[in-house]
């Protein structure tokens, strides 16, 4: 942690150090965001290996483009822009390929009995509920890429509409309409399950 860490832009100290050639500072930035960024990349491209490639490429690109970062803005907004563009490009290429497959390796459970349909409370419980997990995956995969990106950035990352608009280079109104559409689609996919 550096002196600027408690400020409004907590990553600036690390960015400055990385720009001065401190590779460890860049690694700290990467460690800080890699899990969240991987979640976004995975949500967009679907395939875990593709998502890891996207993540690696985005961090390498960030390393070489770090001098373009504008101090006073948020590092993660700047980085997510690189990441999301990379992920959407990758997904578009992969979606044209006939070999795109549904990834269910993370699901450990069996199909639940109709009477036992309850909402999970933890990631492990979700992974143990094959029907719901696959239903969610299918519903998310069926969303257009920009709608999928918006709902991930809002619901998983908790970003503000304005930040999402900056990342996707669109208006706040567009973010809102995509978010409403995506939420409605997910809500439909969840119908049939009851509160546990």
């Amino acid at each position: 942690m550096t002196g600027n860490e408690s400020g409004r832009h907590p990553d600036e100290g690390l960015v400055r150090a990385a720009l001065d050639g401190d590779e460890g500072a860049f690694r700290d930035l990467m460690e800080r965001y890699k899990r969240r960024a991987y979640g976004v990349a995975l949500g967009i491209v679907g395939d875990p290996d593709e998502a890891q490639d996207v993540l690696q490429d985005a961090f390498v690109k960030a390393y070489y483009k770090l001098s373009d970062f504008r101090f006073g803005s948020n590092f993660y907004t700047w980085f997510y822009r690189l990441l999301v563009n990379q992920a959407i490009d990758r997904w578009r290429k992969a979606s044209r390929s006939p070999t795109v497959s549904f990834d269910d390796a993370w699901v450990s459970g069996e199909t639940a009995e109709p009477g036992a349909r309850v909402y999970p409370k933890t990631p492990e419980e979700l992974a143990g509920n094959r029907e719901l997990a696959e239903g969610l995956s299918r519903a998310i995969a069926a969303l257009p890429e920009y709608h999928r990106t918006v709902i991930l950035l809002r619901e998983v990352e908790g970003l503000a509409y304005e930040e999402i608009a900056t990342i996707l280079d669109c208006s706040v109104g567009t973010v809102m309409s995509r978010l409403h559409y995506a939420r409605a689609k997910l809500r439909e996919a969840l119908k049939g399950f009851r509160e546990g």
Partner: protein, 157 residues
Amino acid sequence: MECREARQKIHDLIDGRLPPRVAAEVRDHLGVCGPCGAEEAELRRAGDMLRLWSAARVEAREPELSALWTRVRAGIEERREPWYASYLRRWFWVPAAAVLVVLALLFYPSDGLEVPFRPKSFDVTVESIESESATVALVDKGEELPRVIWIIENGKT
């Protein structure tokens, strides 16, 4: 508040974008209107499930994420330019300037009267012999210069 108005504001309520007074009005409506209340609960649940879905998938790849720096470091090295690349970029103007100087010396009039390397025009005679696949042209530029033979075959010289 009417159902239509309340439903339009549900997303803003979930995302905390309503002023406190309006948020309270919407919440009052959701508390007494079953269908609107159910819609809000389902939309919130969609967000909850998406967060769990994302967390479960990220957790499943934790070992690979632990080794991410090795991959990123390798990617950085792969794209890194050789040590002399920046020198080449910095000093590229030197050979470029040298070429310009040589060209200027070649074409600049040395005594003010004659350009040292000016091409001359000639009166030439051309004999042409054509076959089915090629045209052969003999160009005679006079006694001082050698004869030139052009062969044009399939449209190429």
